[in-house]
Symmetry: C2
Subunit: 160 residues, 2 copies
């Protein structure tokens, strides 16, 4: 089950957020980010936050927002996180499908990921399976905790 949460419920997602960001291999958020900062980033309108529950436990979540304000606010942006022990079960895929539906319902015409770490091949393949194409590649934009500087990809799909 996937449902939208308020800022007051962000604590449900925080342990996963902290784990994912702490790994330093997929998100550029500072690994030392606080719960308050993370909550503000993922729940302050117009950003919306959703969690995926499996057997009554939150195993992942995502945020959806306009990628830019104003004259580009027809393009959505989203970010997904799944707890390490729950990976490989299709939860990211289900959240991606859910976010595409929510984005369409909200009137967005496209979705863009600004910063897919190029070494995160599982994610790149997954987003491609869901209709996204790589439309940009920024050299050495991410300092991967283990590998060092690696490229970041811009991925995009239309919601027509």
């Amino acid at each position: 089950m996937i449902r939208e949460i308020s800022s007051g419920e962000f604590g449900l997602l925080w342990p996963i957020f902290k784990e994912v960001v702490g790994n330093g291999d997929t998100y550029s958020y500072p690994p030392e980010i606080t719960e308050e900062q993370a909550c503000a980033l993922w729940t302050t309108p117009p950003t919306r936050c959703f969690v995926l529950e499996h057997d009554g436990e939150v195993v992942g979540g995502y945020m959806l927002r306009p990628n830019q304000p104003g004259l580009s606010d027809h393009v959505a942006n989203a970010g997904y996180m799944v707890a390490r022990q729950w990976r490989g079960r299709g939860f990211a895929s289900r959240m991606c499908e859910h976010s595409l539906t929510v984005a369409r319902e909200a009137g967005f015409l496209a979705m863009q990921f600004n910063f897919v770490v190029s070494t995160n091949e599982t994610a790149v393949r997954l987003w491609e399976k869901h209709g996204f194409a790589v439309v940009g590649r920024v050299p050495k934009a991410f300092r991967h905790a283990e590998i060092g500087p690696v490229d970041a990809l811009v991925m995009h799909r239309s919601l027509d």
Copy 2:
């Protein structure tokens, strides 16, 4: 002369900011943005704001900031504006050079523009002249006030 300003001096740049954004052809900021919102976007640390003065008059300005926080904060982002009546005199070029120097001094290793409107050919040529390359192209990401949906370019250069 180019100099850094504080948030308290943003009023010097606001008439130009308002004019540029109001045209709806180069920036995605909402054309109805207020001075307070614009000031926050261009002067709240770590964002830094600079103005270019010509004969004692502010004719343009730019902002410089980390493009992303955390593990990507070695990549700078900048945005430049020149008053309409002062275009074509090389002021954008001078601000770009200045920003590259400031960015290097601040320790940035690269600079990225996330959203160069593809129909703004003067800007694209200018940034290419200053060492930037197009590394991404997002289809129809900008609703141009006159032309309608047009592509946005991601441009990048190393500061090595």
